[in-house]
């Protein structure tokens, strides 16, 4: 299905992307700028922006390659888009490429949020600002709730009960009982994997 399956004898180093990009691979500076752009324009959804830039504008990846890398990154621990920057940067520029892409992604927002934190330290107690932030936090919680609803819908297909039960158990352990996350995951992830294998 994707070009990555075609063995390329010429360059064993650059495995999956070597065969397809129509344009020359990015330099370190381009990697940094690309991920800084994605980061700063990616409001509430960095994924959509990264796809537009990587696939449609710069043509560094085909749509299939983007999906493959992104699927891989969503299974790795940590922020998906951060993993994406590391895997993407590493494939074009090794360790230095990974560092360039990741610092492009994280540097500008950290700088921004530090400025915001300093402003908040001065004005955080103003009633008007307080109420505005309460509104934003409540709205962000609502957005998350909608995501939960959208993700949960397919779980209930065909009268399945294992998935909903595992989701419920996770919710109760973390959200109601407030058990530590590592403890809960060490138990629930193996159980969930076993349940998924039984269903196969």
């Amino acid at each position: 299905m994707s070009a990555s399956l075609i063995p390329s004898a010429a360059e064993p180093e650059a495995s999956p992307f070597a065969a397809s990009p129509q344009l020359p691979p990015p330099t370190l500076a381009e990697l940094f700028v690309a991920f800084a752009t994605i980061s700063l324009s990616g409001f509430g959804g960095v994924l959509a922006w990264s796809r537009r830039l990587m696939v449609e504008e710069r043509k560094w990846l085909t749509a299939e390659q983007f999906n493959e890398v992104y699927a891989l990154c969503s299974f790795l621990p940590g922020g998906n888009i951060i993993n994406f920057s590391v895997v993407f940067g590493a494939r074009f520029g090794g360790v230095r490429g990974a560092l360039a892409a990741m610092s492009g992604l994280m540097g500008p927002p950290v700088l921004l949020v530090l400025i915001i934190a300093a402003i908040y330290a001065h004005y955080g107690d103003l009633p008007v600002l307080r109420r505005a932030l309460i509104g934003v936090a409540a709205a962000a919680a609502g957005l998350m709730m909608a995501t939960v609803a959208k993700m949960a819908r397919p779980l209930f297909r065909n009268g399945a009960w294992r998935g909903p039960l595992i989701a419920l158990a996770t919710f109760v352990a973390i959200g109601i009982v407030h058990w530590p996350l590592p403890l809960v995951l060490v138990v629930i992830v193996p159980v969930s994997i076993a349940a998924a294998m039984v269903r196969q």
Binding site: P16, S39, G44, G45, C73, S74, F75, L76, P77, G78, G79, N83, V86, V87, A90, M102, L105, M106, P109, L112, V113, L114, I116, A117, R131, L133, I134, G135, V136, A137, A138, A139, A140, A141, G142, L143, M144, M145, A146, V148, A149, K150, M151, L155, G163, A167, T170, F171, G175, I176, H178, P180, L181, P182, L185, S192, I193, A196, R199, Q200
Partner: protein, 179 residues
């Protein structure tokens, strides 16, 4: 804001976020309950109110959502705390991604991929639902916050609206004290 600085709390920050980073499946938002448990309930680095505010400010900052760790770090030890927390949250998964990403070709298309995705999706859903309750209880159960939350849930579920518009509307409604 500082509830204790010095090398001790920097080490605690680094240790906590370093470990948490490897358990953060399904992105930064599913780690919110654990951040709240540790930073507010165990360490008392922030109050509930400050946690809710940090969450809101992180949502308003463009870039990855887990930028909230920089704000928690800032509360503990200023700029240095913010940098330590961010590096601890990004470093371990980055190293992991670097090596697995290089090796991923060997695993592609295997059944474990399907099994893992089936196994992790329900867990992620449970974690995100828990995040919602933690945020709402930090904000405080009042009419305004609940009304905004329900309205946003419905708007985002049934219509495709840019989050920026939703946040702007919510901020204005909050400021006006209408509810």
């Amino acid at each position: 804001m500082n509830s204790g600085s010095g090398h001790g709390s920097l080490l605690t920050l680094a240790g906590f976020f370093g470990v948490l980073s490897l358990f953060a499946i399904g992105g930064g938002n599913s780690a919110i309950p654990e951040m709240h448990r540790f930073a507010v309930d165990v360490q008392h680095w922030l109050s509930d109110r400050q946690f809710a505010d940090s969450f809101a400010l992180a949502q308003l900052t463009p870039g990855p959502n887990l930028i909230i760790v920089a704000l928690i770090g800032y509360h503990v030890a200023g700029v240095l705390g913010a940098l330590v927390a961010t590096l601890a949250m990004c470093g371990p998964p980055a190293v992991f991604a670097f090596f697995v990403g290089g090796a991923s070709e060997k695993f592609k298309g295997k059944t474990w991929h399907t099994v893992l995705s089936r196994a992790l999706v329900p867990v992620t859903i449970g974690l995100l639902a828990a995040s919602v309750t933690v945020i709402v209880s930090s904000v405080g159960y009042n009419l305004m916050s609940l009304a905004i939350m329900v309205a946003t849930t419905l708007a985002a579920y049934f219509a495709r609206l840019h989050p920026l518009w939703i946040f702007a509307a919510a901020a204005v409604i909050g400021m006006s004290g209408l509810l």
